[in-house]
């Protein structure tokens, strides 16, 4: 999704405002329905609403890629806090500090890539909305969500390789990279795993690598971070 910027939202609002003025003028002043009024209605009911619909949809979709949008549900509070903590050294935090895509770090790292990647990512997002509002996550405490919220499917190394192509000399100069190259390509070894670069959100992982351990039990997997 290309950067549309905030101006798209302003275009949507301006178009909606112009259309609303035309429609309210017609409804309240009740002018004679002559050719001029019909053409004005064409603008008020057709052209400006179409511009508003198109731009607001693109602006809305753009908004769903922002980090604040992902962190707007309380189940993501810890992930959001971890990613935005300036002193944190987790993968998520370091990538979020990247000025190139940090504002959209959740989306950039978790999006599906490929021909239908954008649509599939949005469908996945709809699942999150379903889980939150109808799947019981909304009522869960933060403590409960720490244990039960986990990534739906194993993290795809292809997402890392969108930027880290694995062909640069620096990457190839690391012996472990070369030794695991095939396994990385087949997703048999995850870049974000203990022993490699560590979990992206280490606070959220228990000893089993799934949910965080409840308080008082085994220590969380923060120590896995290299």
């Amino acid at each position: 999704m290309p950067h549309a910027g905030p101006w798209l939202g302003y275009v949507a609002l301006a178009s909606a405002a112009i259309a609303a003025v035309i429609l309210l003028h017609f409804l309240l002043r009740r002018p004679v329905l002559d050719l001029r009024a019909k053409l004005m209605l064409l603008l008020g009911l057709g052209v400006f609403p179409a511009v508003s619909a198109a731009t607001s949809t693109v602006a809305g979709m753009e908004q769903t890629t922002h980090r604040e949008f992902c962190g707007s549900c309380h189940t993501m509070d810890d992930h959001f806090g971890n990613a935005t903590d300036p002193n944190e050294q987790s993968l998520a935090a370091r990538h979020t500090r990247n000025p190139f895509f940090g504002e959209e770090s959740c989306y950039v790292c978790h999006a599906d890539y490929g021909m239908f990647g954008y649509a599939l990512t949005k469908l996945g997002g709809m699942k999150h909305v379903y889980y939150y509002w109808l799947g019981g996550y909304r009522e869960m405490s933060k403590e409960e969500t720490r244990r039960s919220v986990h990534i739906q499917k194993p993290y795809n190394n292809l997402n890392c390789r969108q930027c880290h192509t694995t062909t640069a000399r620096v990457w190839r100069s690391v012996p472990d990279h070369l030794a695991t190259q095939d396994q990385l390509a087949q997703n048999k070894v995850s870049c974000a795993s203990p022993g490699c670069h560590g979990y992206a959100h280490p606070f959220s992982k228990g000893p089993d690598g799934l949910g965080a351990a409840p308080h008082g039990s085994a220590a969380p997997a923060a120590g896995h971070t290299p």
Binding site: A12, A16, F26, L33, S52, T57, G60, M61
Partner: protein, 105 residues
């Protein structure tokens, strides 16, 4: 008369019986609701608001456009020179307003 002709005649009768002005006004109200929903999704970009605007908001907008299209078809079907006592007020739209300024008099 074929089935198609009968259906077409029935559709034309129904369209002619519509009050074009009423359909246009309905279209305006529906469009205002749709525009409000779309604007709200820009001003309050929460998950539910965006999902609502990009799904229900679009349907509301389409309904407004369809109503407007129906009014246009109704206007075209009646023609410019239909008698003033034809069903629906479309024939009076292009008439000059009365002394009190009301076009519907």
């Amino acid at each position: 008369m074929s089935l198609f002709d009968r259906l077409r005649a029935q559709a034309f009768r129904r369209i002619e019986s519509l009050s074009v002005l009423r359909v246009v006004r309905l279209s305006c109200w529906i469009a205002l609701v749709g525009l409000a929903v779309m604007s709200a999704s820009i001003i309050f970009p929460g998950p539910l608001m965006i999902i609502f605007a990009t799904s229900v908001g679009q349907v509301i907008g389409m309904a407004a456009v369809l109503c407007y299209g129906l009014a246009v078809v109704g206007d075209v079907v009646r023609g410019r020179h239909h008698p003033p006592d034809a069903s629906g007020p479309a024939g009076r739209f292009s008439a000059a307003p009365d002394a009190d300024g009301s076009p519907d008099a």
